[in-house]
């Protein structure tokens, strides 16, 4: 039975003590008269438009009560256009295809910019073995929760003298605490048994030491959840040999990126793992682990991008918007297609195009 990730709905109110605890849902107007909820849609570039097109088709076929406000954003723009940010602030939920960041030259990553601007401090990837998808490891069911705003990705670099460059990694108590709280709250609300903090505090004593301190403090408030710590290099070794020992993992920014991609890889690939970026007020759902194939030209030309990850992420989004039955139907349809194994995209060993996979999913919606 698949787990249902409950996202940020309840957490906002559990954090702020001034609101009354009896309110458990984000006060979003309910569609009592059948009005659809607006969701910002950013197709992006590379395979982005292909996979978001897939989601639009499926949502249409299901008659889901959402409608998309599309915006053009490309990876090599200088900054995200202000109307896009406005739209996300208004709708509170966004679905993103993929933004390819050009390597090495002058443009700061728009993905990172969006996360900082909207303060999406937690990045979630749910890596789970999907029946029907052959992998070397089984019994994988890991949720990687990664701090999304600071750490190594602060973007603070400068050249000291020619030939010597410095980059600053910033860790603050505030951010470490809130990501630890999110991780434990998530584990508690989703009936997860163990939280593992991943770090390198034997070398970076102050920085990762501060992160660990925050995790330990929060752990002491959840005696029912097991807590342990693991050094990142040992962790990656354990992930490839014994992944069943991990449940929820909480990490700072860089390690989280690597661990999430490794975990996604062992569970079937980044083409099928759902995930999202969540903050107090906003949420952006996208392909779980780093869209490594966003810029892959061949996949774009042949239209063989795997839409499964974004479809499962949009199911998470539907749940976040409190349309659980639509979410469940979408989830079930996608899983049925994978279990049947006839229509699989290239990255998981099949040879279907995006369109064929989408057709199969639509056919399987009950």
């Amino acid at each position: 039975m698949s787990r249902r990730p409950l996202l940020n709905l309840n957490l906002k109110h559990l954090f702020s003590s001034t609101r009354s605890r009896s309110l458990t849902y984000v006060p979003v107007p309910r569609p009592v008269d059948g009005t659809a909820r607006p969701v910002t849609l950013i197709p992006g570039d590379g395979i982005g438009p292909l996979v978001t097109g897939a989601v639009e088709r499926v949502m249409d076929a299901m008659h889901a009560p959402v409608y998309f406000e599309k915006y053009e954003v490309r990876g090599d723009m200088n900054t995200v256009p202000p109307e896009v940010i406005e739209s996300i602030r208004k709708n509170k939920v966004c679905l993103k295809g993929g933004l390819r960041t050009p390597v090495g030259g002058g443009v700061s990553s728009l993905n990172v910019l969006l996360r900082k601007e909207l303060d999406l401090y937690a990045s979630l990837v749910h890596c789970i073995n999907l029946p029907g998808l052959p992998t070397r490891h089984d019994k994988v069911d890991i949720v990687v929760i990664r701090e999304n705003t600071e750490g190594e990705y602060s973007g603070l670099e400068h050249e000291v003298v020619p030939g010597v460059v410095e980059s600053l990694k910033v860790i603050t108590k505030f951010c470490s605490e809130r990501i630890a709280k999110y991780a434990f709250e998530y584990a508690y609300l989703n009936n997860r048994k163990k939280v593992t903090a991943v770090h390198k505090a034997n070398i970076m004593k102050l920085a990762d030491g501060l992160f660990l301190e925050s995790c330990r403090e929060v752990a002491s408030k959840y005696p029912g959840i097991q807590y342990n710590e693991m050094i990142v290099d040992n962790c990656s070794m354990q992930l490839v040999s014994k992944p069943e020992q991990f449940d929820v993992m909480v990490t700072p920014n860089l390690y989280g990126n690597l661990i999430a991609n490794t975990a996604a890889g062992i569970a079937g690939g980044t083409g099928v793992m759902p995930g999202g970026n969540v903050g107090f007020d906003y949420a952006i759902f996208e392909q779980g682990a780093s869209a490594g194939n966003v810029g892959n030209e061949k996949i774009v030309e042949q239209r063989t991008a795997n839409p499964v990850a974004l479809l499962l992420s949009s199911a998470m989004m539907l749940r976040h918007l409190q349309f659980p039955s639509f979410a469940d139907r979408l989830d079930a349809a996608v899983k049925r297609v994978i279990a049947q194994g006839k229509y699989q995209a290239g990255d998981v060993g099949g040879d279907s195009t995006t369109e064929e996979v989408v057709d199969a999913v639509i056919a399987n919606i009950k």
Binding site: T101, P102, V103, G104, G105, S108, S109, V112, R136, H137, E152, Y153, G155, E157, H158, E159, P162, G163, V164, V165, E166, S167, L168, K169, V170, I171, T172, K173, F174, K200, I203, M204, L206, A207, G209, L210, V232, D233, N234, S236, M237, Q238, L239, V240, S241, L254, Y255, N257, L258, A260, N261, T262, A264, G265, I266, G269, T270, A289, S290, G292
Partner: protein, 371 residues
């Protein structure tokens, strides 16, 4: 699996007359090659703690049976902090490695506490060990979930994220500085391509995160590209680290030689060790300025099985083999290497961590019998 043994012998015979170390070492070894039969080469041995002494004995025994012309100079970690090195390693030990230019190190447990540097860090800084080379290949006979791993990870060892420069800005805010320099990146890139050429490797992949850390990893990539131009016969690629992690766990056979800065190297080399069966089977060699090579076993000192004759000496033995390659004693190295592979492939004598019940001495004797 026999085909794997054949492939390894073929590849090492290609490199028979090439040196593992710096070009500067070639002069030394040329003058020594005639003499190495009659003279003994002095090498420093650090048995280390925990299971260290037992597996060091294993190595000495195997080398003696194989008649390797090496004379060991043993050094132990002291009980108190030596003020000249600010750690438990004495100045004499470090001088010994500097003199002999070659060494083998067992696992050392860094005592937890303040006021002294970690032992590994001391060695690294004092001997200027700038590259850590870890060949990872699937051992025939020991089955893991990955059968076709055959790659080398070369990691920059002196700077990057592990510079140790951290400070608390205000209460609750900590900064850690990552440094990348032209000099260090160039040095490790040079070594990587030299190694690839010397061992008949076809591709070198630089692993980075330059889409986010544009200046630092950008500088690293620039240096790699500079060096790549001097070796047109070797294919050069670049890969973002998150794609690299994913590709490694899905299909490790797509990689050949990987070169990367410190932190990524740490994580990737341990990931690769995990692919082939863990740190108990992984050899490793640290290359320093002036042609110093310190081979080491990277696993822990396993205090719980120390002294019980249960430890697996494979990692230290394979590191010893890479040390012999560095000294140009290729025949001896291949002999010992094949003996180890054959013993593990047979499966009759295996220590506890490989799933068997043999003791260290049984395993060592089996290897000696295969020589």
């Amino acid at each position: 699996m026999a085909s794997q043994i054949v492939r390894r012998i073929a590849r090492s015979s290609r490199s028979k007359y090439a040196s593992l170390g710096n070009p500067s070492l070639l002069d030394r070894s040329c003058s020594q090659s005639a003499a190495s039969n009659s003279n003994l080469i002095r090498a420093t041995l650090f048995p280390g703690d925990g299971i260290g002494p037992e597996i060091a004995e294993s190595v000495k025994q195997v080398f003696k049976v194989a008649e390797v012309p090496i004379e060991w100079e043993e050094h132990y970690v002291g009980k108190e902090v030596d003020p000249r090195t600010q750690s438990f390693l004495t100045w004499e030990s470090l001088e010994s490695v500097r003199r002999n230019k070659v060494g083998l190190k067992g696992p050392m447990a860094t005592p937890i506490g303040k006021g002294h540097r970690s032992l590994n860090l001391t060695l690294r800084k004092e001997l200027n060990l700038y590259a850590n080379v870890r060949p990872c290949y699937s051992l025939p006979g020991y089955k893991t979930k990955y059968d076709d791993v055959d790659l080398i990870t070369i990691r920059e060892n002196t700077e990057g994220e592990y510079s140790g420069l951290e400070h608390q800005v205000v209460r609750g805010v900590v900064e850690s500085v990552k440094i990348i320099t032209h000099l260090a990146s160039l040095r490790v890139a040079e070594y990587a391509f030299h190694y690839a050429k010397a061992h008949g490797r076809e591709r070198v992949t630089a692993v980075h995160k330059a889409n986010i850390m544009q200046k630092t990893d950008g500088l690293f990539l620039k240096c790699c590209r500079e060096v790549a131009e001097k070796y047109p016969e070797i294919k050069y690629e670049e890969e973002v680290i998150d794609n690299c992690c994913m590709a490694l766990v899905k299909d490790p056979s797509t990689f050949d030689v990987l070169v990367m800065p410190n932190l990524y190297g740490d994580i990737i080399s341990d990931l690769c060790a995990g692919l082939i069966g863990g740190l108990g089977l992984t050899p490793s060699c640290n290359i320093g300025e002036g042609g110093i090579a310190l081979a080491e076993a990277v696993h822990g000192s396993a205090p719980d099985i120390a002294g019980k004759n249960l430890a697996n000496p494979t990692a230290l033995l394979l590191s010893g083999v890479s040390m012999l390659h560095h000294l140009n004693l290729h025949e001896k190295a291949d002999q010992i290497h094949d003996a180890i592979l054959k013993t593990i492939a047979e499966g009759k004598f295996r220590t506890g961590d490989l799933g068997g019940k043999s003791t260290t001495t049984d395993f060592t004797n089996a290897i000696c019998n295969h020589l």
